[in-house]
Symmetry: C2
Subunit: 213 residues, 2 copies
């Protein structure tokens, strides 16, 4: 079983001493700057302190952020499977899987799922099921909110796509018992970072055009 | 031309007095809380103060956040057209378009675009172009980062999908001169909010499953 150990306590103390800044000195002077810096400091973290658990209220807080994402036509397609016993992934990971170590050492893996269908009432009052054409966009924003909340909590996380890769989706659906209308969209491994990872600087002004391409 | 007017100055003063909290009293006590509250406070804003402009450095700061999104295989598919003269949308909006008033009254509309192709070198050193299967997921996170940065700046914004709707994409491609390999993904109207909009509470614990669906 996963328990909070001395390593987790040490991690907490280390994180408490450097906030969510990855050890950098903070120049934030306002709420605006703090929120912006949290976005700019988010990075993919693939190495986690061993034998650490994420407190249930911390996980709930991050999922609350995930569910605060914008959603087209208010469809809210997101569903979540929080896997605290990450050994469950062992059965679906090939020995050669590059993420094997990451998943098995994470404190948790959250399976971001989506109900890709939607319903409406037709003119006779009958419920009609139809595909939601923009569920995937909601899910991207949903995962990003979760990752930013993880950063704010001093946690490290890494997003791996499941959808649209059938070879990833099928075993996850089976092992974790997803209903037919629910698809696994992404896996997010999460834990307390082992070591420091710097965010990438992806700023590229040439990507910006004004008024016309 | 759009100029900074007394209305914009009044808006700035009003926003300065209530931070990014939409007038609510802040209970934030830490950087973590501030970053989380910014996520929970984001909402779709469709009414903007007239005759206001967004300072170029504010727009750049928000686009810097957009480009800090996670990106599969480091492909960074995002491109942007910042439309400050929003009258340009008049030619492509039907009189009945529900977003007509929003686009024409916004301080700016950002067209979030994506290069949906990717390249790699094959074994002979030849550059091969192939479709990027996960560009859309990067774009969802990219838009969300921008919306959160807007919230942090006291701005109000609204995300409307373009992709995969051909009837929306075609006129935008034409009017704004997008290259063939670049698709319009979404429109984000943005301005200083006229009035207060409360974020929706979308928390639903039944969406969360533990260890298995």
């Amino acid at each position: 079983m996963i328990k909070i150990t001395m390593a987790a306590l040490a991690a907490s103390l280390m994180l408490a001493s450097c906030g969510n800044k990855g050890g950098e000195v903070s120049h934030a002077t306002s709420s605006k700057d703090i929120a912006i810096e949290n976005i700019l400091n988010r990075k993919s973290v693939r190495n986690y302190l061993p034998d650490t658990a994420i407190a249930p209220e911390v996980m709930e807080g991050m999922l609350r952020c995930a569910m605060a994402a914008p959603t087209g036509m208010d469809k809210r397609p997101w569903r979540f499977v929080v896997v605290n016993n990450t050994a469950a992934f062992d059965t679906i990971l090939d020995e050669s899987d590059f993420n094997r170590k990451m998943y098995l050492s994470a404190s948790a893996v959250v399976i971001f799922c989506a109900d890709t269908t939607s319903t409406r009432q037709d003119s006779t009052g009958t419920t009609v099921v139809f595909p939601n054409p923009i569920w995937r966009d909601d899910m991207g924003a949903c995962v990003e909110n979760f990752l930013l909340a993880a950063e704010a909590n001093g946690l490290g996380a890494c997003w791996t796509a499941c959808y649209p890769f059938a070879e990833r989706m099928a075993p996850i659906k089976k092992v974790f018992g997803l209903p037919n209308n629910v698809q696994p969209y992404a896996l997010v491994a999460i834990g307390y970072p082992a070591g420091m990872t710097q965010p990438k600087d992806k700023w590229k002004p040439e990507n910006i055009h004004y008024d016309r391409w």
